[in-house]
């Protein structure tokens, strides 16, 4: 069994893909950099104009191709540069987590968070938290191990 945390999981370093919106979260990442906030090196950022550009397919492809987690960062609700893009992100995110669960991927491997342009600290903290959470999940497991067996299933 894969250890979910602590001593047995020590060697596992997850690979995480981050989508950051140009206006808030990518600027937050810039601020984290300018402030020299040190953070785990597990994340790779792709800049998109809006978090709503992230097609669910991107997340599924990333996870199926071997990455351990995907984090989508956008402006706080109400602050979207495009007025309502992040509301799409939020709704899609909820649905996508259900889909992931259905196909046997822990939904925690996909996360949506809000980071504003002034939140360099929050960016660094989010990277750290999400890295820890996915580290705790361990490497991806076979579908049969993740899917809950329901009564009546043979």
């Amino acid at each position: 069994m894969v250890s979910s945390s602590g001593s047995l999981g020590n060697g596992f370093e997850p690979k995480i893909l981050v989508f950051a919106c140009n206006w808030c979260s990518y600027a937050g990442a810039d601020l984290a950099g300018v402030s020299r906030l040190q953070m785990p090196a597990n994340c790779r950022v792709i800049r998109v104009m809006c978090s709503a550009r992230v097609r669910p397919e991107f997340v599924v492809k990333a996870l199926s191709k071997g990455l351990d987690g995907v984090l989508v960062l956008g402006c706080h609700p109400g602050d979207c540069h495009y007025s309502e893009g992040n509301y799409f992100t939020r709704r899609r995110g909820l649905l996508l987590r259900k889909l992931l669960q259905y196909v046997g991927i822990e939904p925690e491997r996909f996360q949506v968070r809000w980071v504003s342009a002034s939140e360099g600290v929050k960016f660094a903290e989010t990277v750290e938290q999400v890295t820890e959470q996915i580290k705790a999940l361990g490497p991806k497991r076979p579908r049969s191990e993740v899917l809950p067996t329901e009564p009546g299933d043979s």
Binding site: G11, E13, P14, K15, L17, N22, W23, C24, Y26, A27, A29, D30, A32, G33, V34, R36, L37, Q38, M39, A41, N42, R44, V45, I46, R47, V48, M49, C50, A52, R53, V54, R55, P56, E57, F58, K61, A62, K65, G66, L67, G78, D79, H81, Y82, S83, E84, G85, F88, R92, S116, A117, S118, E119, A124
Partner: protein, 566 residues
């Protein structure tokens, strides 16, 4: 079609990247990537030398994709794109990779990991670059008028600077009078001139200027549109007027912190703020003989970490004013440090000491205490230099508080789609490189709306903002970044998801060559990509962020990504 030839330029950024990331290794690695035919490192790719090198190699090596791995695209992207353009390469064939903010600055203690990550990011950038396509920018006209929000010193200065160039300016002020916060200030440091001497002529010039229309008692109610063509509604006494402008300057200022609950402010009548002191006494009231001024009230504390910047100067100004009126007066300034920056304010500080103002340093851990039943009678303070507690009999306590952001900045920031910083002030695009601009094109900021700034600073910022705001108007047209959505009519099934997803009404279903399909109005599209992610058939794509481009980055990452030492 010519073979794809990618050139990769990796920047040391002096020591900023090169001090952590092993840049030559990244260059070596880049040379091994598919389609990369040239790679080099530069001390500063953004320098004249680096830019020339990009241009030279485009010609010499026949490069048709350029990848620069350096800092954030949010500052230098236009510069590198321009270099490509000058070398005859469509600027949309350029891709930016950030190995400074994402590598060297945030993994400073792990050069091996930072280098590995830089290689992977370059790999992703190259993978995307291969699929980049040349784009044509959409040009749109700029309506030749500007909006200035806020009629204080900053706003008036900006309005005049714009209007003097012949640009029509609409100046919107919430109060019934121009002047802003300093209307309540009697004299200005360090010249000690009457505020009116500065304010009155300025306001007169603004009101008399044929190119400026002033809206008093008015507020901006809504803003829509984009650079070159903003539609603004201004409400005055219940009446709403629509304005059309090309650019917008935010000069809404800030307000003085009312330190309720601190040093018994709000409880004792003779504990006042600096602004209240000016309003009460400098306009003719009897000045008390013994006054303690407490600095850094509500500033440089965990809840409000910033320094108010000129509050020390304000305290010194009012202390001098009291001493000059009554040389027998006892004026104490209780401070944590005196921030008398620059030549003039330092001299001003010296003069205060010569006049007999007593400066006492207190410790934030044991702050002064205001004593008295129904009036402040004394201030007890631990004297840092003497190392003992002293009690100063006083007739009045003046609290020096910082400027704080206006409560409704949030409302305006949402209207204009510009960000606020953690303290609620407007946040510029870049502290050093773009200090009076927002990332949102066509919107600029000056004065205390950005952070506490004194009069000379506000005026310089106003001139800078006005200069920036006049550029698009004088050029007459703006080019809109070609990151708009585009529909492939052959694969579109006209489901209409995109129409519903678009926040700007830019997508419509129309009858075309391939029957009824989605059609994007480029003039209205802002390039968010909402419609692209909503398209079930992949017909809708975003220029510069196509599915193919993003998926190729994901693929490049998944193939190669390494974390931690194996």
């Amino acid at each position: 079609m010519p073979k794809t030839r990618v050139g990769v330029f990796v920047c040391h950024c002096g020591n900023n990247i090169g001090g952590v990331v092993r840049v030559p290794d990244v260059v070596e690695y880049a040379r091994t990537l598919p389609n990369v035919t040239y790679a080099e490192d530069n001390l500063y790719t953004c320098s004249e030398e680096g830019l020339s090198s990009i241009k030279d190699q485009i010609a010499k090596e026949g490069l048709n994709r350029i990848v620069v791995a350096s800092c954030t695209p949010r500052t230098h992207e236009p510069l590198f794109k321009k270099a490509c353009e000058e070398a005859g390469l469509n600027k949309y064939l350029f891709e930016f990779v950030n190995i400074r903010e994402h590598c060297s600055w945030v993994h400073m203690h792990d050069p091996a990991m930072a280098t590995q990550k830089a290689k992977e990011l370059v790999r992703m950038g190259v993978a995307k670059a291969v699929h980049l396509e040349p784009q044509e920018e959409f040009e749109s006209d700029v309506f030749p008028a500007a909006l200035v929000i806020g009629g204080g010193v900053a706003g008036m200065s900006a309005a005049l600077a714009l209007a003097n160039q012949g640009i029509q300016v609409h100046l919107v002020e919430r109060e019934q009078e121009l002047g802003g916060l300093i209307r309540g200030v009697q004299t200005l440091f360090p010249t000690e001139q009457d505020t009116d001497e500065l304010l009155r002529p300025l306001a007169e010039r603004v009101k008399a200027h044929p190119q400026i229309s002033v809206f008093l008692g008015s507020e901006v109610e809504s803003v829509s549109g984009f650079i070159g063509d903003f539609d603004v509604s201004v409400r005055t006494d219940g009446e709403v007027e629509g304005l059309r402008v090309g650019t917008i300057v935010v000069a809404t200022g800030a307000e003085e912190l009312k330190p309720v609950g601190l040093y018994r402010y709000g409880e004792l009548p003779n504990v006042v703020t600096q602004l209240e002191f000016e309003e009460q006494f400098k306009s003719g009231g009897d000045v008390p003989r013994s006054v303690a001024i407490i600095n850094c009230v509500g500033a440089r504390i965990p809840q409000r970490t910033y320094c108010g910047r000129f509050c020390c100067a304000t305290a010194i100004k009012n202390a001098i004013w009291m001493m000059e009126r009554d040389p027998e007066a006892r004026v104490y300034v209780l401070h944590r440090d005196v921030m008398a920056y620059g030549v003039e304010i330092e001299e001003f500080y010296q003069r205060a000491m010569e006049l007999g103002v007593r400066f006492l340093r207190y410790d934030v851990e044991s702050p002064p205490e205001v004593l008295g039943e129904d009036r402040a009678k004394a201030v007890k303070v631990q004297h840092q230099l003497m190392g003992k507690e002293v009690t100063l009999p006083v007739d009045m306590v003046v609290l020096t508080t910082p400027l704080v952001a206006r409560d409704d900045n949030g409302k305006l920031s949402k209207m204009l789609k510009v960000p606020l910083g953690s303290e609620g002030f407007f946040l510029e695009a870049h502290l050093k490189l773009r200090p009076i601009e927002f990332s949102t094109d066509g919107v600029y900021v000056c004065g205390a709306a950005r952070y506490p700034s004194n009069i000379p600073e506000s005026v310089s910022q106003a001139y800078a903002a006005a200069a920036k705001a006049s550029i698009p108007i004088r050029e007459g047209l703006v080019r809109v970044e070609a990151i708009t959505a585009v529909c492939d009519e052959r694969t579109c099934s006209a489901c209409g998801n995109c129409v519903e997803a678009c926040p700007f009404g830019a997508v419509e279903l129309q009858q075309g060559r391939f029957g009824r399909t989605a059609y994007v109005n480029t003039a209205l599209c802002k390039g968010c990509g909402c419609c692209v992610a909503a398209c079930p058939s992949g017909a809708m794509q975003q220029r510069g962020f196509s599915d193919r481009q993003v998926l190729s980055m994901i693929g490049a990452l998944a193939e190669e990504m390494t974390v931690g030492v194996e």
